[in-house]
């Protein structure tokens, strides 16, 4: 559990960031902790920085504790009355309206997913139709087609790319879904065709492979696989950003925050 004295960013100031999904959803204004400290549960360690966007109502500088929980326990956290739950888990987001004491709203886009193609892959990235399909259908989190090109996030991959597999970190469900969709589309033609893979004669041999998170950088450095799905903090781009061959931006994601309403009895 992480405990720190949070430096909150006013959530209302971030409303303009959550514009992709239409509807009444908006970022919660503030949270009313049950105690004198703020307890935040997150289901993805990569979203720990999102806690900075949550502030207690009517107070400044409350001590906050952040706990990373399993996504399958997200609904249990709501049932237990956690102050704030930050998650991308679709089931938890769908479940939140059953608890009227919580206000649900999106946080700013905070992750960019990239497809890294080694220099030997000789592939080309897909178009906007592909990115839209990935954002709307392939992943179960709130996502939008990538608007950043991912410049500066990662270095181009040098390698043969001969292994017919797309590799991802096995604890990253979003990366896994993206890899699976790319593999599913590999043999198809049309505007969804994600890649032109010159060295994969038999696209039915193309498959996904999840590896340990700490092994992914080493695998990327080796460049032996056809492609790698990586998620990087967003935004990372700084202008000007030249085209980076082999770095294909796919989608951007953001978590959802469920915060205790101010009028909820403490």
């Amino acid at each position: 559990m992480l405990t720190r004295r949070a430096q909150f960013i006013p959530l209302l100031a971030l409303l303009g960031c959550a514009t992709h999904h239409a509807g009444p959803r908006r970022t919660p204004a503030c949270v009313a902790p049950k105690t004198d400290s703020l307890h935040i549960d997150i289901t993805d360690p990569a979203d720990s920085n999102a806690a900075a966007y949550v502030r207690p109502c009517g107070a400044q500088g409350w001590p906050a504790s952040i706990q990373v929980i399993d996504p399958r326990a997200a609904r249990d956290a709501l049932d237990a009355g956690i102050d704030v739950l930050i998650t991308s888990d679709a089931a938890a987001v769908a479940y939140a309206p059953t608890h009227p004491e919580y206000e649900t709203g999106p946080l700013p886009w905070n992750r960019l997913y990239l497809l890294l193609l080694p220099s030997g892959t000789r592939g080309t990235g897909g178009g906007e139709a592909l990115r839209t399909d990935l954002a709307t259908n392939a992943v179960r989190v709130e996502a939008r087609p990538a608007q950043s090109r991912g410049c500066g996030a990662v270095a181009p991959v040098i390698g043969s790319g001969l292994n017919p597999q797309i590799v991802y970190a096995d604890n990253d469900s979003i990366a896994r879904a993206l890899a699976e969709r790319l593999v599913a589309l590999a043999s198809r033609s049309g505007d969804l065709a994600p890649l032109r893979l010159a060295q994969v004669a038999d696209t039915t041999r193309l498959h996904t492979r999840g590896i340990r998170t700490d092994s992914l950088p080493l695998a990327v450095a080796g460049g032996a696989d056809l492609g790698y799905i990586v998620g990087v903090p967003f935004p990372v781009e700084s202008a000007p950003c030249p085209d980076a061959p082999g770095i294909v931006p796919l989608i951007e994601t953001r978590p959802t925050a469920m915060v205790r309403r101010p009028d909820t009895p403490r």
Binding site: A94, T136, R181, A184, R188, H207, T208, R209
Partner: protein, 515 residues
Amino acid sequence: MSFRTRLLLVIAAIALIPLTAIGLLVRREMDRRFAAQDERRIRELSSATRTALAGADTSLARRLASLATALAADDRFRAAVRASAGGSTADRAYMLDYAARAMQLTGLAMLEIVDDSNRVVSSGQFRNDYGRVDTLLPPPGRTALVTARTPTGPLLTLARTDSVRIADHRFTLVGGIAVDQAFLRALSPDSTLRVSLTATDGDVRPVVTRQANDLDVLRASVDHWFATTIGLAAAAVLLVALWLSRRLSAPLAVLADQTAHVDLDRLDVDFTTDRDDEIGALSRLLAAMTRRLRLSAARLRDAERRATVGDLARQVTHDIKNGLAPIRHVVRHLSEVERAAPETLSTVFAERRGTLDASVAYLDELARQYARLTPSLTLRPSDVNAVARDVASSDSSTVTTTLAPDLPPVAADPLVLRRIIENLVANAIDAGGTVNITTRQLPSRDVQVVVADSGHGMTAAQLAQASTDFFTTKTDGTGLGLSIVRRLVADLHGTLHIDTAPGAGTRVSLTIPHA
């Protein structure tokens, strides 16, 4: 081929041929039984597998029917269908995830929901494979082997279909169970048999095969141990056969070697043995035969002697005539001188006296030699030690004795016995070196006399000629010494054995029967 080799081969064949035959028969019988047992197990497993597949097919059909019913009743799925591409993201996600949830609930390894254009709208084993046109659907109502796509690779399934109509759209549910190693192992609890599935004309049939290696490994193992056993048995049999053949043939070889030395003049070969088997009997038979031969030879020599008496008499007559002729001439000359010139008789006598002395000496020597050839023989108890001492005392500086006490008397003529030992000692002294006379009593109570010298010895050729009359290597020898000794020993019914080698001296062993 020698007797030993033949014996060896016969023993080896007797032991190895039945062993090999038994081994081959056992192996063939074992092979036949294993093959029959395998066939039976394959038939039984094939039948059980067909039953299990029928059960799996029934279970699969039931689960798909339940799913079709549930799907038809699912309003949210229906709403997603009606909204089609224009529906909400949540409904679309619900449709995409439907197959995965249903697959988990039903325990299937594969579940796809395809629309009436065979386009995948939801896939349980490959959630993001939506939109693909599935061209490999199993025929309705039948189970088929289907290779389903998954993110990590192809998945072989035993699949069948069911269908449901929702909002004027016909959806086909393709469900399957994984045909993986676990599934096949469950079909075949016998690890030595392997079950695989094959699709022929749309029907899924089990194929049961024996793990070929198992029987082959068993055969190879049996062959290995069979060869090892045969090899060890062959080695053991060969060793035993070699030992037996040597044990059987060695005494025969000794007997053959001893028998090879037997001839009419060499009947002193010793066939004595303590064996009580057939070899011992043969040895005793040969010894008895040799004894009879010795007696026969003695009688033969006696007959020869008698037959040659006439020749000897003629030779004696001739020799005497030769010796008397000069005397007769001298006497006739002296008679003529006495008649014609008596005054010169003494002078002429003196001149002719040398001739007379030479003739007399010749006759005297002739008489001595003939006396040696024809001794008179009277066998009576005689003391060998006494004779040996007397002979040794004649030249005590050269001849020593080693005499056994309490020696029994032998049946011999003391004069003949003395002549034998005298001749042997004389020959030994002539050979040079020292001479020793040894006496001892044999187990048969016969007495053995050994005259050994450290002289120049003899070659084999010299030894072979030594018994021939008038053969000698000495400048002043008569060549009758050893020949006379052999005859005298034979007359005493004894045996004579000579061991000699050039430079190693000579050892003459004389055996005389006890009195």
